[in-house]
């Protein structure tokens, strides 16, 4: 088997241009790797036939961009025309979309090759990929452990280099946390940076699609493709720039804030130490680092439970068996019974639990007590971040409180999936961009992720900083 996919995208691109290899070689290699690592359960649906057909059709075409002919895998909550999109749920186990998400259109325009749909937590609800109707995804660095979630399939896919690029989605940490657990680079862009049209909504005001890649540069390359205003998504923003443009520049004189909340006793000391190592490293490189307080961020998890779940209870109401997806086999007497059985049988426990909480916080007087109050505190969190980011270029801290845990662990703890996201949720609340990059391993040989948080639409600066760490920090090199 050839190992072209171990090369950087730039190198692969040169070989494609020189006609040393063809897109079909890459696709074949990609499917070999997926087959080899089947037990990791990263994929729900493979797009083999179509990918091969498309790769062949590219052979006569000019290699006109860096991502031309590169295989990419897509989280299964992003709709792909004629390619089953399940959200890892029984509810959509038979669902074949009739349209492409905006990001899929953009990927196709660049002649990238979609190789398949990736496993995830059901409807992106979970942080260990254990709520999937299709079973858990194994961690690419230790298969007894969870891949993280909800973009677990995406992270393991890239972590094992089954495909060099993947799309994930992040509502409270679903790109960054599994990226940290798998030692790769994942970015949740600024809210509005990437069109959500075609992303099966979970928490609409928090969801963002983002790139998951092997390194910082390739992450920026993929974001170049994904971003931009989409008239189909009113919350998308008109921004277009080259996110690789600052990569390689010096970081001295940057000012970085470290929230005390991110370095508390709740964080595994080994992770904390690693972040402190990074801090001393950048200080040595003339970066000014301050420990700061960010007001109200300690409320982020309960806010998430209210806002994300309230929105989800409404977003997922459309799965009722009337127009598409699963419908109960039971002989029912009324439309209400059809709804009841379809949803009872079609959704898994975690989804049902969250829909019930979401309905509760919006119900009658609760809306005022919970939902509208949460919106107010959310605004305060956002203001606190803005204040810090008006004085500092970036905020850094760990991505996760702990290492990837054993599969099966925490399954009975309904709260764990939220506390896992303690450090990532605040970023979604504020609509800011957040990235996780690998900065080394613990003694248990499991990767540690560092989170970089930027100002709105300041991803280029984050890439510059991340790339510097990736290149020059000892821990970063290990990956």
């Amino acid at each position: 088997m050839s190992r072209y996919l171990d090369l950087s995208i730039k190198k692969i691109n040169e070989k494609l241009k020189n006609k040393e290899i063809t897109p079909l070689d890459l696709v074949n290699e990609c499917f070999d790797r997926i087959e080899e690592n089947k037990e990791y359960n990263a994929f729900i649906t493979l797009n083999k036939e179509e990918a091969i057909r498309f790769a062949k059709s590219l052979e006569d075409k000019e290699v006109d961009n860096l991502l031309f002919g590169i295989p990419i895998a897509i989280k299964d909550n992003i709709v792909t025309k004629d390619l089953k999109t399940t959200c890892a749920s029984k509810m959509l186990s038979n669902f074949i979309p009739i349209y492409d998400a905006t990001v899929i259109k953009k990927i196709k325009e660049k002649n990238m090759i979609i190789v398949g749909k990736l496993n995830m937590d059901e409807f992106a609800m979970g942080s260990s990929n254990q709520t999937s109707f299709y079973g858990p995804v194994l961690n690419s660095k230790d298969k007894t452990r969870v891949a993280g979630g909800s973009s677990g399939g995406s992270a393991t896919c890239v972590g094992m280099n089954m495909a060099p690029l993947a799309l994930g989605s992040d509502t409270g940490g679903s790109i960054r946390q599994p990226s940290a657990f798998n030692g790769i680079v994942g970015l949740k862009p600024t809210y509005g940076r990437v069109s959500r049209y075609g992303l099966i909504a979970f928490g609409s005001s928090l969801d963002q699609i983002g790139p998951i890649t092997r390194n910082v540069y390739e992450n920026a390359l993929l974001l170049n493709v994904l971003c931009g205003k989409d008239e189909k998504d009113l919350t998308s923003v008109d921004t277009s720039e080259d996110f690789t443009r600052l990569i390689g520049e010096d970081i001295s004189d940057m000012k970085v804030a470290v929230p005390k909340f991110y370095m508390s006793d709740v964080i595994n000391p080994e992770i904390r130490n690693k972040i402190e190592e990074v801090i001393s490293f950048i200080e040595k490189n003339n970066v000014k680092v301050d420990y700061v307080d960010i007001d109200y961020i300690e409320y982020s998890v309960p806010l998430y439970q209210i806002i994300a779940l309230a929105e989800a209870s409404s977003n997922l109401a459309r799965f009722d068996g009337v127009r598409y997806g699963y419908v109960t086999d039971k002989k029912v007497e009324s439309i209400d019974d059809m709804y009841k059985y379809t949803r009872k049988e079609g959704f898994g426990d975690e989804v049902k639990r969250r829909l019930m909480i979401g309905s509760y916080v919006l119900s009658g007087k609760n809306a005022k007590t919970y939902y509208y109050k949460a919106l107010k505190i959310r605004k305060s969190i956002s203001d606190s971040f803005d204040e810090i980011l008006s004085k500092y270029d970036l905020i850094i801290g760990p991505t996760t409180t702990d290492f990837a845990y054993k599969i099966g662990e925490g399954e009975t703890d309904a709260i764990k999936s939220f506390t896992d996201d303690l450090l990532t949720i605040p970023v979604n609340m504020a609509g800011l961009p957040g990235m996780s990059i690998p900065v080394g391993y613990g003694n248990n040989k499991l990767p540690i992720g560092m989170q970089i948080i930027g100002n709105k639409f300041d991803e280029a600066k984050m890439y510059k900083f991340a790339s510097y760490i990736e290149k020059n920090f000892e821990g970063g090199k290990l990956c």
């Binding site: 999109t85 959200c87 349209y99 099966i200 909504a201 189909k232 009113l234 919350t235 127009r323 809306a367």
Partner: protein, 474 residues
């Protein structure tokens, strides 16, 4: 004594080109499910768009109904499960209705009254469900069509006020160009709620749905007042409920009892950002609102048009628009109004066509009125020309020329005709001598007959009298 209190909710389809939150076209009566896209179907992953036309018409409607326009608006989700509701939530406005505190003025028994409007808000329509035997068909063409909901305060005292309110509201919305307001086609839906009380405290509210005409609103209100009065007098404690008007039996039928008030779990629609409506936007829209019926009535009255013609004009918006154009061209308004509401209107009604669809043009009418105004043709000839033009496209001067219809005001020519007639009608001349005025009428008829109606009546009359005087002097 039990006193009724009535409030009315009206839903109107807005005349936008596309749907409220998707680019599908807003058209009625196409092949079922041809005017629906993935957004209207509530497909997984779709997001709403926002039609600017919806906002423009919402503002226009608010202004036409004397409402205060809300400067910062957003939309809300109303969550409930029903097969005609594709997303199982409806995008509506709960927190920031586009207009508040408006009114519609009505007048009856010589009194004026303002029917207060609590609020108006924009929302999307549901699918149309067609229930057959043991299944239901869904037509998604209607899903997402923009609606405006107009809610009055509970300030209507009887069925008369209700009818006048609805008639005036309908006219205003039609004239403002907001909606087609076709009740039969469902583009305007009226839902009155009626409660009875013998004190200042409002009684139990009963809502009536499924009403397909303004007269049925009246019937349903009268029916409910009678039904509720009887129940209250019998000592029955009423519950809040929604009833359906049944046009066949002329009764209301229970649909559902409101147990604890509906829990729609409203919250702001996160997929549609807030919209700021600035003063310029409002003023730009205000400029597009034409004169509304009450203002038009006043204007027509001042121009000397009679009441019957005025109400005929208001009822036929298209003709009123034509008249306004003629008035703007400085054409005699009374003559124009009479022509429009006379032969032209009856022809249009007979043929079930609009003015635009007919052959006659505004320019034609302008020419005819000007000729009449200058006494160049008689009203009789005008009728002939109009009849001709309604049947076949044409030009007034050509018709006059071809048919030889030009009025004869030439004295010499007329004197010849008159002398000739007097010579042949010596008996009538004799009658005139003996003071019988009706002979003039007869002789004028003869003149008109002879000139095929072309004689200028005023000139002919004067000449006839002077000829008769001459003759009797002899």
């Amino acid at each position: 004594m039990l006193k009724p209190t009535i409030g009315i909710e009206v839903h109107c389809e807005l005349k936008t080109n596309s749907k409220a939150f998707s680019p599908s076209s807003n058209t009625y009566g196409e092949v079922p499910n041809k005017k629906a896209n993935v957004i209207d179907l509530g497909y997984p992953g779709v997001l709403p768009t926002l039609n600017k036309g919806l906002l423009d018409l919402g503002i226009k409607c608010a202004l036409a109904l004397n409402c205060k326009v809300t400067k910062e608006i957003f939309f809300d989700r109303k969550n409930y499960f029903y097969p005609d509701n594709p997303k199982n939530f409806q995008i509506t406005q709960n927190n920031t209705p586009i207009g508040t505190c408006g009114y519609v003025e009505i007048e009856y028994d010589g009194k004026k009254k303002k029917i207060e409007i609590e609020e108006i808000h924009m929302e999307e329509d549901t699918c149309k469900s067609i229930h057959e035997n043991d299944y239901t068909l869904l037509n998604f063409n209607r899903a997402g069509i923009p609606l405006i909901e107009i809610v009055t305060k509970p300030c209507i005292e009887n069925e008369k006020e209700a009818v006048l309110y609805l008639e005036n509201l309908r006219e205003i919305l039609l004239y403002a160009g907001v909606s087609d307001v076709k009740i039969e086609e469902g583009s305007m839906r009226c839902e009155p709620n009626i409660s009875l009380s013998d004190s200042d405290k409002l009684g139990t509210k009963i809502e009536v749905k499924n009403i397909s005409s303004i007269s049925a609103v009246k019937e349903s209100i009268l029916y409910e007042i009678e039904r509720q009065t009887k129940l209250i007098n019998d000592g029955v404690k009423l519950k809040e409920e929604t009833r359906r008007w049944d046009d066949k039996s002329k009764t209301t039928i229970l649909m559902r009892v409101k147990e604890t008030g509906n829990d729609y779990r409203y919250f702001p629609e996160p997929d549609i950002p807030k919209v700021i409506i600035d003063d310029k936007w409002i003023e730009d829209i205000r400029k597009t609102i034409p004169l509304l019926p009450n203002e038009l009535r006043k204007k027509y009255k001042e121009l000397g048009i009679n009441d019957v013609t005025i109400s005929s004009l208001i009822q036929n918006k298209e003709l009123s628009v034509v008249l306004n154009e003629l008035i703007d061209m400085n054409i005699n308004p009374v003559l124009s109004a009479n022509i429009l509401t006379g032969d032209i209107l009856s022809y249009l009604n007979k043929k079930y066509i609009t003015f635009k669809e007919s052959n006659i043009t505004i320019d034609n009418i302008k020419d005819i009125v000007n000729l009449l105004d200058n006494n160049e043709i008689s009203s009789k000839i005008a009728k002939v020309i109009i009849a001709e033009l309604l049947e076949k496209e044409g030009d007034v001067s050509t018709i006059i020329k071809d048919k030889g219809l030009k009025q004869i005001s030439n004295t010499d020519e007329l004197v010849k005709v008159i002398e000739n007639i007097l010579d042949n009608n010596l008996k009538s001349v004799e009658d005139y001598k003996n003071g019988l005025d009706r002979s003039i009428k007869f002789l004028m008829g003869q003149i008109m007959k002879e000139t095929k109606g072309q004689a200028n009546p005023k000139v002919a009359n004067e000449l006839l009298i002077s000829e008769l005087e001459n003759k009797t002097k002899l």
